[in-house]
Structures are given as C-alpha cells and as structure tokens.
C-alpha cells in the first residue's frame, strides 16, 4: 500500500492513520465491553445461590429461656445469641454514657420497642454472635464463660469486649454486635430473617 504512488500520498497517509487509530480504539473498547459481559455471569455465580438464600430465616421458641439465661441458635450458618437479660443488665446498658461508646447506639434501639401487642421487650436481646472484628464467636453465652469488664461478651481472638447490650466497649472490633432482622410472632416465638 505504502509503495503505491499517489498524488495525495502525504495527506492520505495521515488521514488513514487517524482512521486506523480510531478503528483500533473502538474495536478495543467493544472487545472490553464484551469481555465484561462474559465475565459478569461467572463472577455473579459466586454470590449466594438461590437455595442458600432460601434458608435465610429461622424460627425460635423462647419459652424455655429463663431470666439471666442465654440461647444460641443457628441462622444462615452463623450463631445468633438470644439473651433474656436481668433488670440489672438492662439498667447497666441504659446508664452507660454515650461518650464511652465506640459505636454509639442506645440500648433502646437494640431491642424491640412495642413489639408483639405493643409491648416493649427490653429483656430480649437478639444479636448475631459474630465478632465485628474478624468474625470469631465471642464467649459469654454460658454462665461460666468470661464476660469481659462490661457484663457482656468477650472475644477470645483479639480481646474485644462487648457490654450487656452487645455494644463494643474495648478492643479492636469497630462495631457493635449486629442485631439481625427479627420479629416476635407471639409472646414466646421469634422469627429471625
């Protein structure tokens, strides 16, 4: 091509070159879009599958749990801590000064207010029992477990301490223990998820 003599050789070449650059660019861009489209279903396949999502709720019977006792149930493969708190624990959680909290949140916002039949349920604390640091299960469900300095839960992995409302008070964890979505289906049953 370059050898073909042409009266407009100079202008032709440059004009052509620009066109070629443009073609290469658009072709490249199209190939990129195509590659992304092809990758999308592959990447998306690694997200939770339909059957995993279907297992996402659990019913719990609370009638056997007495004041000061705890229950651990499994929800989405994770432990959920259910604790029927004593009045002393509730008072302790409610009088803690907000300025002491790393992730400030009122105890009232962590339990069900006006749940079943418009009643408050401050004694029932329901939380995902997974440390917000790196995912260990904190100790404190059994009476013989260490409860940390704040009458709550203690994570043995890196020493995070949670208070009687499950809020982070000390240690490397950044957030309070997560409260999962749940409802009272009647006075003695909850549905998590």
């Amino acid at each position: 091509m370059a050898e073909t003599p042409s009266p407009h050789a100079a202008s032709d070449c440059c004009h052509d070159e620009e066109r070629r650059d443009f073609l290469a660019l658009t072709a490249g861009a199209m190939a990129g879009v195509g590659a992304c489209c092809a990758a999308y279903p592959l990447i998306q396949s690694m997200n939770p599958a339909a059957d995993v999502l279907a297992l996402a709720s659990t019913e719990v019977d609370l009638s056997q749990v007495k004041e000061g006792q705890s229950l651990t149930v499994v929800w989405r493969g994770k432990p959920v801590f259910i604790r029927r708190r004593t009045q002393a624990e509730i008072n302790e959680a409610r009088t803690a000064p907000m300025s002491d909290l790393k992730d400030p949140q009122k105890d009232e916002d962590r339990v069900k207010q006006s749940a079943f039949g418009g009643k408050d349920m401050p004694e029932w604390l329901v939380m995902v029992g997974v440390c917000t640091h790196l995912g260990c299960v904190p100790l404190g469900q059994k009476p013989t477990d260490p409860h940390g300095e704040f009458d709550g839960w203690f994570c043995p992995c890196h020493g995070s301490q949670y208070d009687s409302s499950g809020r982070i008070r000390k240690g490397p964890a950044p957030k309070n223990l997560e409260v999962p979505p749940y409802q009272f289906t009647d006075a003695n049953h909850i549905k998590i998820g």
Partner: protein, 421 residues
C-alpha cells in the same frame, strides 16, 4: 537457536524432532551451556529447590484430590480415610502437608538471599516483581489448601482471613459474601477453595516460567553483585551447577524426609484434628507458621485514626491492620526503587550488612509475636518490630547509601575469587 541450520544431535530421533521444534537446542542453550557466574554459594540453590518443591506439591496434590471430598459433611472424614485406608495415603498427605512448609522455607531463603545480594536491582526489577507475584500466589494457595481438611483451624482461619476484606469501606461486606457464596464460611466456600487450590499451582507454574525466562535474559546475580565480564567469570550451567544444586537438593530432601517421617505434625496445629464447628471458636487462632510475621503486622495496628477534631473514624484499627499487612508485601514490590545503593552486594556494604541481619531478626521476632496471644507485652513488641520492618524499606534502604562507605569493589568476579583462595 540456529534458524534453518540442521541440528547436530547424535541421536537421530532427537535430531528429527529438533529440526522441527528446537526444544533440545533451547534446553542445551538455557540449561546446558548457559554461562553462569562461577562464584555461586549454596544460597543460589534455593531457587531450584523451590522448583522441585512446587513439582512435588503438584504431584502429591493431584493424587490427594483423587481421594478427597470437598463437602463440609465429608471433607474431614475423607482426609482421615486418606490417612488410614488409602494405600500410602498417609505418606502422600504428610509429604503434601509438610511440603507446604518446606516450600515456604526454600522461598523465604531465596528471598532473603535476593535482599542480601541486591538481586532485585536493575536490570532485574521485573524478575524480582514476578517473584513477589509468585509469593502472593503461594500464600493464596497455601491458605486455601489449609481450609480443605475442614478442621477447627481450617474453618476459623478461613473465617478470620476472609473477614479481612470486610475492612474495605462501603463494599467490604458485599465482597465477603461474594467470597463465601453465602453468609458464613460454608459448603460453597469449601467447594470454591478446592477448585482454586487445584488451579493456582498451575498459575504459579506459569509465572515461574516467566520468572526463569526473565532470569535467562539478565543472567544470574552472584555474591559479588558484579556482572560477569569475560568468559573467565562464568562456567556452563551443566555440569557445574546441576551438580552443585543436586547436592544441595539432597541435603534439603533429607531434612524434608526427617520431618515427614519423624515429626509430621510438628509444624501443624493440633486443633485442626478437631472437625470444624461454626459455633465454637478455638481459644487461640493462629495461622500456619509461614504467615505468622504477616499476622503480627496485621495485629500491631490497634488505633482508630480520626479526622482531626471530629469523632469520624477515617481508618479503623481493623482497616489499618489490613492496610499494613498488604503494605508489607508492597514494600517488597517497591524495593528495587526504594534501595538507592549503586552497589548490589551486602558484602561491600558494611552498614547494610548489619542492617540486613537486624531485618532478618526482626522478621523472626514478628513470627514469634504472631504466634502469641494479643496481650502485653507481645502487642508492644510487635508494634516496634512492625515499625522496624517498614523503616528498613522506607528509611534505611533509601538513606543508607548516602552515608555508607563502600568497601573497594573487585574488578571482576574472577579477581574476587582468586584473591580469596
């Protein structure tokens, strides 16, 4: 490679193949007559040893995969079946399990060798970077392999490490769910880890190929750090270094065999012989020994950094730890540009030589701290050791050359060798 010219191997079959596909000419050139500095010490054998370890891992791994079941209900039992019922299953598994440790030993020696003799400096920067990529791939592979037996440490190690990604702002939790394929480490996680654990060694193999290809462009560094100038400075790779490397390899394999046969579980955690239980965290989660220094760096960051004069957390201690840990590898990647010294080898750098050994000691301290619970005084020691780790790369490497008096360099490799003898 001679283009078009007939190959001259005695064996007619080899000749026939070589004229059509000159692999034998290539092998001859790259591993036979390849000119190699004549002053290697035994530290230069660890690259080849690492290669043998990679091959061993792939070979034993393929056979283990024939008997292993990647499912949360069966994984632990299938591993125990390999140990008790499969013919020589115990041997293959112990070779594979301890092979990971030995592979890391070889690679760590190989890396420290490079740091000591300045093997990362121009023109070998890309060669070095490919090496760091291999290290990263090895870490990912080893981590996923450790999850497969589905013991307590498998499960909780996987939980803690995958949770590191939740430190990423905004999308962190989404990424973790995506990695798990669920809402906790569970069957989908185990399945994909098995698939990737099988895949990644072959990726490593490919990167090793590039690593070696790059090495054969620049040629090897050597203990003097001076490039070979004449034929007097080099010897053909075969038989000189094939023989030397074989001897080193045999010693290494004896050490390996001692561990496999006499202390196969010494390097592992006994908790991993308890089946995984998502409801109970072991009292003390520790990664395998080869990750301990990085684990110590991760845990040394215990502060929240706030935007000044507000209570808004800019970098939480969790994110900070993760950044530091990945930063420790990034330091290795940047080392060719951080070190400003014109002289490669520590042999001629009296201060750097001392600093290097302090750095080695520092890595050992980090490893020790990584295995200890996060309590006083370990946390503090870990923080100082982390600070020194980064100071080595960010302060000492760039600044030392300004103040250091370099010892007189020999004119050539052969001069250096002759002077010694």
């Amino acid at each position: 490679m001679s283009h078009g010219s007939p190959s001259s191997f005695k064996n007619p079959v080899i000749n026939w193949i070589d004229t059509r596909l000159p692999i034998f000419t290539m092998l001859q050139k790259e591993y036979g007559t390849f000119p190699t500095p004549k002053n290697f010490n035994y530290l230069w054998s660890f690259g080849g040893i690492a290669m043998v370890m990679l091959t061993t891992m792939i070979l034993t791994g393929i056979f283990l995969a024939m008997y292993y079941t990647p499912s949360t209900g069966h994984a632990f039992d299938s591993v125990e079946r390999i140990m008790r019922d499969v013919n020589y299953g115990w041997l293959i598994r112990y070779i594979h399990m301890n092979g990971a440790s030995l592979f890391f030993i070889a690679v760590y020696v190989h890396i420290f060798r490079g740091v000591y003799y300045g093997s990362y400096k121009a023109p070998r920067e890309l060669l070095w970077i490919l090496g760091v990529v291999i290290l990263l791939l090895m870490m990912a592979t080893a981590f996923m392999g450790y999850v497969l037996p589905w013991g307590q440490m498998s499960f909780w190690g996987a939980t803690v490490i995958t949770n590191l990604f939740s430190a990423i702002p905004v999308v962190g939790d989404k990424i973790v769910t995506w990695l798990w394929g669920g809402f906790s480490v569970d069957n989908p996680t185990l399945n994909r880890f098995f698939a990737l654990h099988y895949l990644l060694p072959f990726v490593i193999f490919a990167v090793v190929f590039l690593h070696v290809a790059a090495l054969h462009v620049s040629g090897s560094n050597n203990p003097t750090g001076i490039e070979p100038q004449t034929d007097k400075d080099t010897v053909p790779f075969h038989p000189y270094y094939t023989a030397k490397d074989c001897f080193a390899l045999v010693l290494f394999l004896i050490f390996y065999a001692l561990i496999v046969f006499y202390a196969p579980n010494a390097l592992g955690d006994p908790d991993n012989y308890i089946p995984a239980n998502p409801m109970v965290t072991p009292a003390h989660i520790v990664p395998e020994w080869y990750f301990l220094p990085f684990y110590a760096i991760l845990r040394s960051f215990v502060w929240d950094i706030h935007i000044p004069f507000t209570s808004v957390v800019l970098i939480s201690s969790k994110l900070g730890g993760v950044l530091l840990m990945f930063g420790s590898i990034v330091m290795l990647l940047l080392l060719p540009w951080l070190d400003r010294s014109k002289v490669r080898s520590a042999v001629f750098r009296p201060i750097y030589k001392k600093v290097f050994w302090l750095f080695v000691l520092d890595c050992l301290i980090l490893g020790y701290i990584g295995g200890k619970p996060p309590e006083a005084p370990y946390v503090m020691i870990g923080q100082f050791a982390t600070a020194f780790y980064f100071a080595f790369f960010l302060i000492l490497s760039p600044l030392l050359p300004k103040y250091e008096k370099i010892l007189p360099l020999p004119k050539s490799i052969s001069e250096a060798v002759l002077k010694k003898s």
